[in-house]
């Protein structure tokens, strides 16, 4: 690898942080979801980097599974979002506070 692993990993870290910030800061459910996808991708990058580092393809296999699960998750998640927020004006997730104690 001509590019040091640390570079890739730092990029992954920053992307992850950006995703986390998005989850915390944004109130639109769709944006939050996308931020989650961002975090997943950051992790994927980490996994691929380490697979390359170790010369073992297992990391890539894991990324494959992450992809699969992310796909399924997005499908169901978006369906739920549509269902929940259909009757409202916005997709503000702060409106979904019925689980309060």
């Amino acid at each position: 690898m001509s590019v040091p692993a640390a570079y890739y990993l730092s990029l992954s870290a920053l992307l992850f942080t950006l995703g986390a910030a998005g989850v915390l800061v944004r109130r639109s459910a769709l944006i939050v979801f996308m931020s989650v996808e961002l975090m997943l991708n950051a992790v994927n990058l980490t996994l691929v980097t380490f697979a390359r580092l170790r010369g073992a393809v297992d990391g890539q296999v894991l990324v494959f599974f992450v992809l699969v699960v992310a796909a399924a998750e997005v499908v169901v998640g978006l369906a739920i979002i549509v269902d929940v927020f259909r009757s409202r004006e916005t997709v503000d997730i702060d409106d979904a506070d019925l689980l309060r104690g």
């Binding site: 986390a20 989850v23 915390l24 702060d94 979904a96 506070d97 689980l99 104690g101």
Partner: protein
């Protein structure tokens, strides 16, 4: 013989069981018959036992019956043993005999009462317990009987339990005697510790070798057991329950609180005389207690206006005489007085009961109207016989037993105690005369309610009264003036057992030293009794002396403030402590408990605020956790 011994307590016990189970459904006639039958049969069995013992040579008159092997735990072996010897046979006769008469009387007195069957069930149970106490072969069985009579006393005092005064009196009796019972129980433990057994014959046999004369151990044992007697026999200072116990039906007062239960203490001391002889100090305590109680109670009886309470205090006083007797080791004198007292005190109570029966329950002598003596001639006569016996007028039984006691006290050198006894005799004669005059005499204020014309009671109540009167008259022959009279000789084998050598200062030592010294106390006693009688008649029948020192009157009326002392020293502090405990319990303990619950609740409420319902809050929490884990990995890889 064995069967007869067992039957004595067993028959009334069966009576209790039967009456308790089915008595409520039977007509009164059947209930009364059954109840009286069991006790009469028990009396018959007692007679059989007596004759059986009489047929044996004097030295071996001792029959033990092990009813069953009760406690056998290693070295601790306590069988359920009954003991028939001259002492227990004589006492059983008295208890069963007087008990039978009172049962018959009760059938008339309690006629029409809603709790008729319950009354007789309890009364039978009492008889069973008392006879068990008397026939006990060891301290454990005696204790069962002891507690049993205490229970029945409570049940019967508070028989009309809807009356608050009666309920209170029952509780008071039970609790006060319980205090004494603590001492009794401790004494039993001590006896077991020293002797390794509770068996009476063994204790009597071995007392001299196991107990050093005048040592702390026998003195402690004797005093502890005496404490039980003080409670049960209503001596100073645990007498306060007996006057209140008059709330119960009059036959109950006659049987339990005059003739039988209250004498259990005296009986117990005579039974364990071998132990007491090894503790002269304890004997002195017993004698002094008896004497002081006697004069104190006699003084109290002087100012009572309730007829039954007069008789109650009289009982306390006469019990004091009995303890005085055993305190100077005049065992058979004490038993003699126990017997004669049973006769004439029960007679007095039954006569009082007849008066109450005639007046619809009135006991206040100031309100007994005029001329009861004319209307209830037989009752008045019966009461008079009892009164004369109590005062110690010959040839009635009371004279003989009282003179024996006073004589023995004098002969054993206890001059001060003799003087107190003498004074008490005078006061006794005085107060009983007063009682008779106030009740039956012509004067006094007219009765409040104009009820039915008072009349003598029906036959069923009259015949037992007459029987007791006859016994009172003739009973002197049982003991006569001699310590070696019939009763004394009968009890000889028992009271001489376990006596290593005559102990100085006691009757057994001075029995030989009779002589002219004997006639002095005799004459003095007689003179004092007669003087008291005359004085009483003068004051109350003739109204000669009026207005005695009012201060003395208050002192007497307040019973020397004994009850007030109890209230201040015992009852109030206990109540205060109880109140504090209640407050403590509420404020501190409850608060601690609810405080924990509250704290948990508040903690829960605080934690609940974390469940805001906002997804972003939850995400933030996850992030915080992730950061913490990250920090951990960074610093400690």
């Amino acid at each position: 013989m064995t069967a007869a011994v067992v039957l004595i307590p067993l028959l009334p016990l069966a009576g209790w069981a039967v009456l308790g189970a089915w008595g409520g459904r039977w007509p009164a006639r059947v209930v009364g018959t059954v109840a009286c039958a069991t006790v009469i049969a028990a009396f018959g069995a007692a007679v059989a036992v007596l004759r059986g013992l009489a047929a044996m040579p004097p030295e071996s008159r001792l029959v033990t019956v092990d009813v069953y092997r009760w406690i056998a735990a290693g070295p601790v072996v306590i069988p359920f043993r009954l003991l028939a010897d001259p002492l227990s046979a004589a006492m059983a006769l008295v208890v069963a005999g007087v008990g039978a008469l009172i049962h018959v009387y009760s059938a008339g007195y309690m006629a029409g009462d809603r709790g008729f069957a319950r009354y007789f069930a309890y009364l039978n149970l009492f008889m069973a317990a008392m006879l068990l106490l008397v026939l006990a072969g060891n301290l454990a069985v005696m204790f069962i009987g002891w507690e049993g009579v205490g229970l029945c006393s409570y049940l019967l005092i508070a028989f009309w339990f809807e009356r608050p005064a009666a309920a209170r009196a029952g509780v008071k009796a039970f609790i006060v005697t319980r205090l004494g019972d603590v001492g009794f129980l401790l004494g039993i433990f001590a006896v077991f510790g020293v002797f390794g057994t509770l068996d009476f014959t063994t204790i009597t046999r071995e007392a001299a070798q196991r107990l050093a004369l005048g040592a702390a151990v026998p003195t402690a044992i004797a005093l502890l057991l005496f404490l039980g007697a003080v409670g049960k026999s209503a001596q100073l200072p645990l007498y306060v329950w007996l006057p209140d116990a008059m709330e119960g039906p009059t036959p109950v007062s006659a049987l339990i609180h005059a003739a039988t239960m209250v004498t259990a203490g005296v009986y117990m001391i005579v039974r364990l005389h071998a132990v007491y002889l090894r503790a002269p100090l304890a004997l002195d305590v017993v004698a002094v207690t008896g004497a002081v109680t006697a004069i104190f109670a006699a003084a109290a009886a002087l100012v009572e206006s309730d007829l039954k309470r007069v008789l109650a205090y009289s009982t306390i006083s006469q019990l004091g005489y009995m303890f005085l007797a055993v305190g100077v080791a005049a065992w058979s004198a004490g038993m003699f007085h126990l017997t004669t007292h049973a006769f004439f005190k029960a007679l007095l109570f039954l006569a009082a009961g007849a008066v109450m029966h005639a007046l619809g329950g009135e006991t206040d002598m100031r309100r007994m109207g005029g001329g009861l003596g004319r209307r209830l001639p037989r009752t008045a006569a019966a009461f008079a016989i009892g009164a004369l016996a109590l005062a110690g007028v010959p040839p009635l039984a009371g004279f003989f037993s009282k003179e024996q006691i006073l004589g023995e006290t004098f002969a054993s050198g206890h001059a001060a105690l003799w003087a107190v006894g003498l004074l008490t005799a005078g006061v006794t004669a005085f107060y009983i005369t007063r009682a008779h005059v106030l009740t039956f005499g012509p004067a006094a204020a007219p009765r409040g309610d104009a009820g039915a014309v008072p009349h003598d009671p029906p036959g069923i109540m009259l015949w037992p009264t007459a029987a007791l009167a006859a016994l009172t008259v003739a009973g002197g022959a049982i003991g006569t003036l001699e310590i070696q009279g019939p009763l004394g000789r009968w009890l000889r084998p028992v009271v001489d057992a376990g006596v290593a050598q005559p102990v100085p200062g006691t009757a057994s030592a001075s029995a030989a030293a009779m002589g002219t010294a004997y006639w002095l106390p005799l004459a003095a006693g007689l003179a004092v009794s007669v003087a008291g009688l005359i004085l009483g008649w003068l004051v109350y029948a003739r109204g000669t002396v009026r207005g005695a020192a009012p201060a003395l009157g208050t002192l007497l009326a307040r019973r020397f403030y004994v009850e007030a002392f109890y209230d201040a020293a015992v009852v109030s502090p206990v109540r205060t402590i109880a109140a504090w405990s209640a407050v403590f319990d509420r404020r501190v303990i409850d608060r601690a408990v609810t405080g924990v619950a509250d704290g948990l609740g508040r903690g829960g409420a605080a934690l609940r605020r974390l469940q805001s319902g906002y997804l972003r809050h939850y995400a933030a929490f996850v992030l915080v956790g992730a950061i913490l884990i990250l920090a951990y990995w960074i610093w400690r890889p």
